[in-house]
């Protein structure tokens, strides 16, 4: 197919990209093969419209079913070993022209050469895969196998066209690792949106499934089931084993016990006689042998098959429902073995294989089944023969009884003597004769009936009444069995539910117990802590009680308080004395300082007029200097001769004198200035000293006051800081506003 060629150029192949915009694509991920039958059923249920549109819907369905089954089993059985989560990804899409199935899984790196005609298989798994691919290729219209050796992913893409005779070429193998041109995924906007299988009509499907199951169980007879199957539509053709309903109903519960192994789950879903699908290659060989023997047997039984066809019990068209018709376990075995076995029939290998070959193959299987059915019929006729023999023996017994009755009647009539008795006896005899006549008539009728039955049996025809009885009996039996199975299943479900409920309850209770334990532990902890505190309190209380009882509590306390008070008093007295001494010293020092200050002030006042005088002189001298400088300017402007005369006379003497005086005055003013600076500095120092002394005095006064009140007070250190002004310090220590103003007075 052309699609296969384009597909081989892509790195990633999605089914939706290969179909038209109106396509529908379903995808599913399988982690177990327990329910693959149902998954496939559901896929086909969803694609019913497409399947119905095919020329031969039933054949078409069967092909798709087989492709899906083989592809999934291939993915599962040949998956990479050692993986804890096996995963088979299915994509199933169709549009109005064709249907595409894609199944992906992972294989081990050593599995090579699994594509038929593309090298030899490297191991058993590869050969098994090759066989399965051949089968799929035979069933599909085109097959592409994509393999990524780096990751081990294998994707199988099978194309099935709705039109007949659309057979494509052989298997196309694409090694994805070697595809160099990376083709981006198709970004067309009208591409189909893939949906999970779960978005389909699950409820309807499950309902149909349940109804089918119910019908198959209650109908009992295969004929009725066959009628249902032929009229009820697609969902009814699912395989049902009518004579083994329990095995159908219970695999889930059986497999629950073994669900750890998916292979076991697989086997449990099938009949007990059926071997596991996921078993070793020896099993595959056995499968092949079985298949060949089956084919041989089918060849032998051709005559019987032709008879059955003449009878109209089966037709080639109904091969798709073969499992339903046959009903036995053997048909399921045949069907599955054909599907799963690696070898496969010899006639399916060539390209000329088509649907007719398949038909022939299945008709052979059908013949085999019909032979089994004939054997069952023979057994039933034998059973009827036994019943007739039993009836004959009963007839013989009745005959013997009749003879004894006749004999007794003869002996009884000779013994009667009286007339009345004779009349009575005559009446009785008449009635007896009447009864006997009736009995003889019945006997004759019965004999005739027996003869007729015998003749019918000899002819090989089963009587209608016996057939009806057997039918009724079988129906009853089947109904009972179905009811019993239902009950058993209900009980099992109930048990399971109860078990689950109990487990949930147990878990909840355990959790609750754990929480309670935790709470209890915490409460115990808090209780122990409370107890501890209580014990301590009690202990102290006991101590107090003990002391109170001794009567020493008050006395001791008072004594102790007295001693401490006396000690405090002594300490405060000592501190008081010390403070008084300190106060006196400071007062003396302050007096000295104040007297020195007064002296300095007096000296300053004395120096003041002298300074004033000096300032005045200085001013005068400056005035004179100004005059001299202005005179020199006039001389420059007036005449040089006149200047020379003045300079040469008393003028030169006075100039030198003035200069000398000026120098003297400058020196004197400088000295006075220095003296003034010194005096100012001294004055500042004295002011500082005074402020300190005032602060000290205030503090000492405060301490003295405190001491006189009787409170022992620790002597505080002076809180003077470096770089801070005394005034600031005075404020920091907290003097009153009046004191602050006192401190500011000298500044003003």
């Amino acid at each position: 197919m052309t699609e296969a060629a384009t597909l081989s150029q892509k790195l990633r192949a999605g089914v939706e990209e290969m179909l038209r915009a109106n396509a529908r694509v379903l995808y599913e991920t399988l982690f177990s093969i327990r329910h693959i039958g149902r998954v496939i059923d559901f896929c086909l249920y969803e694609s019913k419209s497409f399947l119905d549109a095919a020329q031969q819907p039933l054949e078409f369905e069967c092909r798709i079913r087989q492709i899906l089954e083989i592809a999934i089993f291939n993915g599962w059985t040949n998956s990479r070993e050692g993986d804890s989560a096996k995963c088979v990804e299915i994509e199933f899409g169709w549009d109005d022209i064709r249907l595409i199935i894609s199944v992906s899984h992972f294989v081990a790196p050593d599995v090579q050469g699994f594509v038929p005609g593309n090298g030899l298989p490297s191991n058993e798994a590869a050969s098994r895969m090759a066989g399965m691919f051949e089968k799929i290729q035979a069933l599909s219209d085109g097959l592409v196998i994509r393999h990524e050796q780096t990751t081990g992913r294998v994707q199988l893409v099978a194309f099935v066209s709705a039109q007949a005779n659309a057979k494509g070429s052989g298997i196309e193998y694409v090694n994805v690792d070697s595809v160099e041109d990376i083709v981006q995924p198709n970004l067309r906007t009208e591409v189909a949106i893939p949906s999970p299988l779960s978005t389909g009509k699950v409820r309807e499907f499950l309902q149909d499934e349940r109804e089918d199951e119910k019908k198959s169980k209650t109908s009992g007879l295969r004929g009725a089931a066959r009628e249902d199957a032929s009229t009820a539509g697609l969902s009814n053709w699912k395989v049902k084993r009518l004579d083994q309903p329990k095995q159908d109903a219970e695999p889930e519960f059986k497999s629950l016990e073994k669900k750890s192994d998916p292979k076991e789950a697989l086997t449990s879903e099938r009949t007990e006689a059926e071997p596991s699908l996921a078993e070793t290659p020896e099993k595959n060989k056995e499968d092949d042998q079985f298949l060949t023997s089956l084919m041989k047997k089918a060849g032998e039984g051709e005559d019987l098959a032709s008879d059955s066809e003449q009878k109209g019990k089966a037709s080639g068209k109904d091969w798709g429902r073969i499992s339903e018709k046959s009903g036995g376990a053997a048909d399921r075995v045949i069907d599955d073995r054909i599907v799963v076995s690696g070898g496969g029939p010899q006639d399916l290998t060539d390209e000329e294989l088509n649907v007719k070959d398949l038909k022939e193959k299945y008709s052979e299987d059908l013949q085999q089944v019909l032979r089994a059915k004939d054997a069952q019929m023979a057994l039933k006729s034998k059973h009827y023969q036994d019943q007739i023999d039993h009836l004959n023996s009963k007839v013989e017994a009745l005959k013997a009884e009749k003879q004894t009755l006749v004999n007794r009647q003869a002996s009884g009539s000779s013994l009667s003597s009286s007339s009345s008795e004779f009349i009575d006896g005559q009446e009785k005899a008449e009635s007896k004769e009447h009864v006997l006549a009736d009995f003889e008539e019945l006997d004759v009728k019965f004999q005739k009936l027996v003869e007729r039955y015998q003749s019918e049996i000899e002819k090989g025809v089963v009587p209608e009444s016996a057939r009806a009885w057997a039918k009724g009996f079988m129906e009853d039996m089947l109904k009972d069995r179905a009811a019993l199975n239902d009950r058993a299943r209900a009980v099992a479900t109930h048990l399971k539910k109860k078990e689950f409920d109990f487990k949930t309850q147990e878990t909840a209770l355990r959790e609750e117990i754990r929480l309670k334990d935790e709470q209890l532990r915490q409460k115990e902890l808090s209780l122990s802590k409370t107890k501890e505190t209580l014990t301590n309190t009690l202990k102290s209380l006991e101590e107090t009680k003990r002391l109170a009882s001794a009567g020493n509590l008050d006395k001791n306390e008072f004594n102790q308080k007295l001693a401490s008070t006396e000690r405090n008093l002594e300490v405060s007295k000592e501190a008081h004395q010390k403070l008084i001494v300190r106060f006196e010293e400071l007062q003396k020092k302050w007096q000295e300082d104040s007297s020195a200050r007064i002296l300095l002030q007096q000296e300053l006042s004395k120096q003041k007029p002298l300074t004033e005088e000096l300032k005045r002189q200085n001013k005068e001298l400056q005035m004179k200097l100004m005059q001299v400088s202005s005179g020199s300017n006039q001389q420059k402007s007036g005449g040089a001769a006149h200047d020379l005369n003045r300079r040469s006379g008393s003028g030169a003497e006075s100039e030198a004198e003035v200069r000398h005086k000026l120098d003297q005055a400058n020196k004197l003013s400088k000295a006075m200035k220095d003296e003034l600076e010194r005096t100012r500095k001294r004055f500042d120092e004295l002011k500082l000293e005074e402020t300190n002394l005032r602060i000290e005095l205030v503090r000492v006064q405060g301490q003295l006051k405190a001491a006189t009140k009787g409170q022992p007070q620790q002597p505080q250190k002076p809180q003077t800081q470096r770089g801070s002004t005394p005034l600031h310090n005075a404020g920091a220590t907290g003097p009153t506003l009046g004191q602050q103003s006192v401190a500011k007075k000298p500044k003003s």
């Binding site: 990751t151 994805v176 999970p196 779960s198």
Partner: protein, 312 residues
């Protein structure tokens, strides 16, 4: 865990609710921030943030002081459907009694409410749902990674659980498979961030990824089981797998985009196979969420979109 914030009691009056101490376990993923009250300072101090594993010493401290508070309600109050969904999904993923399509249908029905939460990066629902359902990532791994880098750790937890949820929706409804996939995504994100020279980038070469796999195989990352070959190749040669079209790589890509850790053209995201699959599965709900997330990410990159454009 570091003390992150402290709120005074006056500011947060009625804001903090008492947490039952018995519900706390060592190693558990904390679903809400836990605070301790300090009476001396009259303050609530955050001891552990949400999505972080609870250390033994923190729990001991809680037990010793006996008071734990949280500003958020319980998990059931915040996400009423979470607990039931987790139970259902766990049961279904472990079971083989139900056919796969029915199983996926039930899972989809039970987790449909998580679709808006998937696209909301402030919501912790996906992470907590996954942790509740599958108990992954395990405590040892959480401790190990949380000690390395808190930012990387938080990003990786979000990314891995987002990827796991998407895989679950895509039909990979097997517990073992999902666990391995989430662990792979988690370790890959951690390794990618740890090994990246740029710090925080998830795009690495196959060579660097192989180193990450070696770390796991040599059991240097505690709690991570031995992976199947598929996940090993996914971790070691992701770029190759991506080129070959592995769906799980696409799931990781998509998750990175959702978590804002990889920039992609929105059209390309919409055309991604898994996006189309999920749209097919959830319909308009998923599509709306996807477009909203796309708009938000565009706003982050290009600034706010004008109103006229939005209306258009």
């Amino acid at each position: 865990m570091a003390q992150v914030t402290a709120d005074s009691a006056e500011q947060s009056q009625g804001k903090y609710k008492t947490v039952d101490l018995t519900t706390l376990r060592v190693g558990m993923l904390v679903d809400r921030p836990l605070y301790m009250f300090l009476p001396s300072q009259n303050k609530y101090v955050c001891m552990i943030r949400e999505l972080h594993p609870l250390e033994e010493r923190t729990l001991e401290k809680f037990k010793r002081l006996g008071n734990v508070y949280s500003s958020l309600g319980t998990l059931g109050e915040r996400f009423p459907k979470l607990r039931r969904s987790a139970v259902i999904v766990n049961e279904l993923c472990e079971s083989t009694d139900v056919p796969s399509f029915d199983k996926n249908r039930r899972i989809r029905r039970a987790t449909r409410w998580l679709v808006p939460h998937l696209f909301d990066q402030n919501s912790l629902a996906t992470v907590l749902f996954f942790y509740r359902t599958f108990r992954i990532p395990v405590s040892e791994t959480l401790f190990y990674v949380a000690d390395l880098s808190i930012e990387n750790y938080e990003k990786s937890v979000r990314l891995s659980t987002t990827a796991g949820l998407i895989a679950l929706w895509l039909g990979y409804s097997n517990a073992s498979f999902i666990r391995q996939f989430v662990e792979t995504a988690f370790c890959e994100a951690i390794a990618a961030q740890g090994l990246s020279s740029e710090g925080g980038s998830f795009l690495l070469s196959d060579e660097q990824r192989r180193k990450a796999l070696q770390l796991i195989e040599s059991k240097k990352v505690p709690g991570v089981p031995m992976l199947d070959q598929r996940f090993k190749s996914l971790l070691a040669s992701q770029n190759t797998c991506k080129a070959l079209g592995d769906e799980l790589v696409e799931v990781l890509e998509f998750s990175r985009w959702v978590c804002g850790q990889e920039q992609m053209n929105f059209q390309r995201v919409e055309q991604m196979r898994i996006a189309r699959k999920l749209i097919g599965q959830f319909g308009g709900l998923f599509k709306r969420g996807l477009s909203a997330r796309g708009t938000k990410l565009r706003e982050v990159v290009d600034g706010p979109v004008p109103k006229a454009k939005v209306a258009a």
